[in-house]
Subunit: 221 residues, 4 copies
């Protein structure tokens, strides 16, 4: 008889515990798509979470698709985020909005970047989902702002910083974090190989830096 | 007592009549924005409608905004179309998706053009709104396909033709209509001045041609 | 004694024969660079020349460099053409001038394309070098002018046709020849595989077609 | 009789004096074209020269044409510089090479920018003409490197700095001078109005700054 009483208690406890897990979705482009793969930043966050014995508190899911720009997020937001009812969404977008201007003539105007970004925030706010915004890290790791897209990357990062401020949302300023790191570790002013493999996509150190910065922000929520 | 019986009858009749008016929204870019202004194609359709004594059957509204691409329509679709509960939407988009590639590096990839276009159709279908699709007319009126964007304009027009077929939706093939017209009336192979003022925006003849083609399609629905 | 008289006679005859060989340089981009490689159009022209027993009349040399635009030809004209004192130069340029607009934002304005093209002609004229001009063939083999760059390709081909006319120079209209061939052999409207491997670079049939057209023009000079 | 002896002496003296004047040509784009107009930097240099009583030592001529890129300079170098046999050429180019990438898809690849720049230097060296190189100043005056083209502007300025070093040529680092000035006088981080009217073309202060920097460099030769 004891058992019969005891088991349901566990189930109730477990159910209670499970309800408390904060579901975090990482919403972004190819960098986030790679984040769910071995060595990726989402995997690293999950590991850190486990190490800190917080696996009962958080669950993580990647929602990154290669080539995505801000309006692509808007298009698939319903299906890939809202329907999955997360508690938190980490929005990490902007590289392709800048990059595709020169690589294929299909980047995103600054004004429209802001408009779509705000529209995404409005939808998530309406669904009571918490958000963490990120600035896009780098297209090239040179520290003297001589990477061809640095002007636009700084410009779009400023836009996101302003959007975060205006909406009172936490910001993971990856662009700043990457620059600070490169100022210390990239004395030769190389354009890749410090935090990225190819000027854009993250190597192990890059994934770790992103994981560290995001994990701090997630725990602060 | 007679009056009391008579008045409600009128009201019922009026309500009945009003219910029967088909509300048509023209959804597009600067060409459609100009369509609501004096001499514009929407004004011309309204005039033709009146002349044919069909004003009790149709009402028309413009929803064009300069610089819009297909994803801009998707963003403002809710507010500018769905909330206005039209019976019919005429979708006339594509010029900027092609043009902005070279003018500002912010055009729309063919693959994403299709994706957003289909997403708009899906939302309108869900709301039981009838649709008429249009191919983008011209960026330059030369008839030997030597206008710089002709390749892409033909490509995106083909995409729209396929979308129309796939979704069994009526198509106003403005690109074809403009070419046919220019083959007759533009023997000198000029790049503007026949149906446009500036290679893109419609002059009186251009507005009339668009009005004629659309009005035919609207009445056929 | 006979021998002593006989040998110089042969040498004089050989020298005379050698002087009569027409030196043809093919001046262009990666398509021409590949033209000197196995299966390339220059090799094919050389073979046809041999078959027709005209090897004592012509010699051929390739001067193509990948990625070249009209102004790159102008820059290396001195070293790669003039210093080699050819009798004839076949100028085959234009694909990258159009293509790089969308692939890297570094194409060539139509107006400057003309200016540099004419400047090259002027230098060759001053050096009494005969010229054959060519239109750029294709960026995509679809026959309905829906290859994204078709508008610009037609436009730049028109510019070259006009330059040829204005300077009374023979023209090998590859753009026309490729379209005619594709209208016959590309019924499925594919964008590659008929005369090119990748929409731009020539396969065996493409190299043969270019060789045929150019060889005809060279013999007519 | 005295007069007859006296006059030729003056003429000889004048001719001697005139031979000693250093002829400086400013070779560039629309900024240099405007430099010869009222309030322009070339006019200002001429005024400073006069004030310092050095008009017998220098003469100045503008050779700027709107829209010019490095390869345009190469094309017109012969006619607009070499034929005028200057002693010094100030080369001020690069804005359009960067800018036209996004505004019309017709900028200049970094690698080709270097190649043409070096080719110009080689020609001037061969003609024993002294040179002063300049970095392009600004496309936007914001000081946090968030002007869209800042990355490329820094990149191309680095290329010119390296070319100057490699060729042991004096450099007027306008990009640095403009940034230093804006860091002092543009506390609000505006993108225009401090040294330019429109982010690119010089206002009175901009013309003065360029004049000051160039005049210093010219006198040092």
């Amino acid at each position: 008889m004891r058992k019969l009483i005891f088991l349901p208690a566990i189930l109730i406890f477990m159910a209670f515990t499970m309800q408390k897990r904060t579901k975090v979705i990482f919403f972004g482009d190819s960098i986030t798509q790679a984040g769910s793969q071995q060595g990726g930043y989402i995997i690293k966050i999950d590991s850190m979470c486990m190490k800190e014995n917080k696996s009962d508190k958080y669950e993580f899911a990647g929602a990154g698709i290669g080539g995505n720009k801000v309006y692509d997020l808007y298009l698939r937001m319903e299906k890939d985020v809202l329907e999955k009812t997360p508690d938190v969404v980490v929005i990490y977008i902007g590289v392709n909005d800048v990059w595709h201007k020169s690589s294929s003539g299909t980047g995103t105007d600054a004004e429209k970047f802001e408009k779509f970004y705000q529209a995404i925030i409005d939808k998530f706010n309406a669904a009571k989902i918490k958000m963490i915004l990120c600035t896009p890290a780098v297209i090239g790791e040179r520290t003297d702002f001589s990477n061809p897209q640095d002007g636009d990357m700084n410009h779009y990062s400023n836009l996101i910083r302003n959007i975060a401020k205006k909406n009172s949302l936490p910001l993971v300023d990856l662009r700043k974090a990457f620059l600070d790191y490169n100022l210390k570790h990239n004395k030769e002013n190389k354009d890749r190989g410090i935090l990225t493999t190819d000027r854009v996509h993250l190597n192990a150190a890059g994934n770790q830096l992103v994981a560290d910065e995001m994990w701090k922000a997630i725990k602060k929520l």
